[in-house]
Amino acid sequence: MKKVIIEKKVLSENDKLAAEIREQLDSRGILCLNFVSSPGSGKTSLLERTLSSMGDRLKIALIAGDVQTENDANRLIAAGGKNVFPLVTGGSCHLDAKMISNILPKINLDDLDLLIIENVGNLVCPASYDLGEDMKVALVSTTEGHDKPLKYPGMFRRSSIMVINKIDLLGTSDFDLAEVKNNARQINANLIFFETSCRTGEGLESWFQWLLEEIKTKKERC
């Protein structure tokens, strides 16, 4: 019996592509966010809100990942999105870097502030795949239980932002805002929190301010 040492990452191919994407975006100072959550937490809703409030001030491109339909992409176009690219995975439970680099040539990167990728609704599988983003933004809604961060530590450890959405529904379940934050901090002490309602608009202003600040920082860095 002979042993051959390999020591190679299983997803090295994906990581290589992700690094190429990151380089392309970094060289132009484009901020890239990867939105992740369980199905239905409000990723598309937050992006609709972001488009209708910031669409005039920022040049935004969106890649809307979905297992089946192009519904999310259509919603984003209806919300004023001018650079919306549907990405139907046809069954795959996550997006990978290859899918993103196939779409990238269609996007005019020379005239862009922000690229947002809406991942497939799933808190497990997308965690393994780097898409070349600057940050993962994880959403949790107030209807899905405050133990979510503990149940999906892999995703919350890899995320930089946690948006607690549907705060208009606080009080209708036993969801505890302080508790969800404590649980999230146990996994990742550096998480930045936002509390939003895409229904009433509450809390969105601080999300927009953060976004503007982050875009500025990214531009200055490059």
């Binding site: 019996m1 002979k2 042993k3 051959v4 040492i5 390999i6 020591e7 190679k8 990452k9 299983v10 997803l11 090295s12 191919e13 994906n14 795959s92 439970c93 996550h94 990978d96 799933n122 497990v124 599988c125 965690a127 393994s128 503990l150 530590p153 892999g154 450890r157 901090r185 146990q186 996994i187 990742n188 002490a189 550096n190």
Partner: protein
């Protein structure tokens, strides 16, 4: 759920290594799987065994070493075991820690039959 995609990537990587290193009779693929890698070992094995049927890796099996989570506290400059996904330094309670190991998903080695 994505274990099938991961199994596919392992498969392609090993075939590539097999070709470039001119190997035959690969008996075993040694994997290092971090406990925060997001991979379910049973599910990965099931997927791999389904993929390998009637291929040149039909007789190849997976061996997985599960790597426990280890953190490093920047303040105390020491390593510690992360239990129950509590990412705090046990000495100073700081959350400013780095993950030293436990995230990996790596093909460590191949075992070849003589």
């Amino acid at each position: 759920m994505h274990e099938l995609s991961i199994a596919q990537s392992i498969f392609e990587n090993v075939l590539k290594e097999k070709k470039t290193r001119n190997l035959s009779n690969i008996e075993k693929i040694g994997l290092r799987i971090g406990s925060l890698s997001g991979i379910l070992p049973d599910s990965l094995e099931f997927s791999f065994n389904a993929l390998k049927i009637d291929t040149e890796l039909a007789d190849t099996i997976l061996e997985m070493e599960i790597i426990p989570l280890q953190g490093y506290c920047k303040k105390c400059e020491q390593n510690f075991a992360v239990h129950d996904y509590t990412f705090f330094c046990p000495s100073c309670q700081s959350g400013q820690i780095e993950i030293e190991q436990g995230m990996e998903m790596e093909i460590a080695f191949l075992e070849i039959k003589d």
